[in-house]
Symmetry: C2
Subunit: 173 residues, 2 copies
DNA sequence: AATACATAAGTGATTACTTACTCAACGGCA
DNA sequence: TGCCGTTGAGTAAGTAATCACTTATGTATT
C-alpha cells in the first residue's frame, strides 16, 4: 500500500461519507488526495471498486463489534452490549459508519443483513430472561438502536450519555 | 395546474424517491413525464425548485398527521397515536415519505425539526402519567419510531402488525 | 532491462440549464 | 363580427461544464 493509494482511500471515505457516493466525483477525490485522477483507476479499476475497497477496510471493524456481542453467553451482557453499541463508536470511525448508513438509502440493491446473527443472539438472551415474545423484544431493541445510531451520525443527538444510562437502567442490565 | 405540470411533479416524486435526488437527471424526469426537458425549467426554474414544489405538495400531509397528536389532551392517546404513526402510513404515500427520509441523508443542510412540537407533547404526556424522566422517555420513543419508519420504508420490516400490537401493549395504551 | 508508480491530456456521454421558436387562447376595440 | 396584440404553454436544438474512464508517456527503483 503506497502513500498515494492510502490518500485516495481516506479522501474518498471522507467525501463519500459527507457528500454521498453519487455526488462525489472521482476528480474531487483525486484533488483532495493530491493525486492525478488516473491513479484512482489504476489502483481500483473503477469508482465502484474504490467504494468496495473502502468497505473492505472497515469490514473487520463490523465483525469485531458484532462478534463481541454474539459470542457473549451471559444474557444480560448481550443486551447491555447491544444498547451500548452506538454509544461506544469512536469519533474517528464516524465517517465509516455514516457511509454505511448513507449507502443503505443511496444504493438500490444494498442489503446488509449483517444484523441477522445479532437478532438471533438478542432473541435468545431475552428468552433466557423469561421475557414474553423475545423475538419482538429483540426486534424492538434493534430498531431503537438503529434510530439512535442514525440520530448520532447525523449529529441530531445531544444528551448522549444521559440517554445511554437511561436505557441501561430501563433494561436493568 | 396543467396536466403536463402535474405529470412532471408525479414523475419526479417517484424517481427522486426511488433513485435519489442527485441520481435523477432532469432528462429522465422529462422522459417519464412525456414532456420536453425545457418545460421543467419553465415551470420550476431549476431542479431544486422542482424538489421544493414536491415537498410543498406534501407539507399538509405532515402537518395534519402531527396536529392530530399534538392537539390530543389525553396522555395515553398521545402515546398511542405516536406509536401508530409509522404503521398507519398509506401505501400511496410511501414515495413521499421515502423521499423525506432519503433527503435527510442525501442533502447536507436538510434539517427538519418538525419533530420538536411532537417531542414536547410526548414529554408532557409521560409527565402526566407520573413516568420518571419523561423527556428521555419521549426521546426514546421517538428514536424507536424513527427506526421503525426507516425499516418500513426500506421494506425491511415483515411482521408489521404484530410489532404494532406488541408496542401498544408494552406502553399500555 | 523490467516493473510498478504516476501523470497530462485526452475520450464520448451526460449533466443542468438556455435559446429561439411555434401555437392556441384570450380580451379589447373598431 | 372580425382583426390585433399579448400571454402562457410547449418544444427542438442547442450550451458549457462535468462525468467516469482511457491512452500515451514519463520516471524512479530494483
Amino acid at each position: 500500500m503506497t502513500d498515494k493509494k492510502e490518500n485516495i482511500l481516506l479522501s474518498a471515505l471522507q467525501l463519500f461519507a459527507s457528500d454521498g457516493f453519487n455526488a462525489t466525483s472521482t476528480s474531487k477525490v483525486a484533488k483532495q488526495a493530491g493525486v492525478s485522477e488516473g491513479l484512482i483507476f489504476r489502483h481500483f479499476e473503477n469508482k465502484e471498486g474504490l467504494l468496495k475497497a473502502i468497505l473492505a477496510m472497515g469490514e473487520s471493524k463490523i465483525k469485531d463489534l458484532f462478534a463481541e456481542i454474539v459470542l457473549e453467553t451471559e444474557p444480560k451482557l448481550v443486551i447491555r452490549k447491544t444498547i451500548s453499541l452506538p454509544f461506544q463508536v469512536k469519533e474517528e470511525d464516524y465517517d465509516f459508519w455514516r457511509l454505511q448508513f448513507k449507502l443503505k438509502w443511496e444504493l438500490k440493491n444494498y442489503v446488509s443483513q449483517k444484523m441477522d446473527p445479532l437478532e438471533m443472539a438478542l432473541s435468545n438472551a431475552f428468552k433466557k430472561l423469561q421475557k414474553p415474545k423475545p423475538e419482538l423484544e429483540s426486534k424492538k431493541l434493534l430498531l431503537l438502536v438503529d434510530g439512535i445510531s442514525s440520530a448520532l451520525l447525523k449529529g441530531d443527538l445531544k444528551n448522549k450519555e444521559e440517554l445511554h444510562q437511561f436505557l441501561l437502567n430501563k433494561y436493568e442490565v
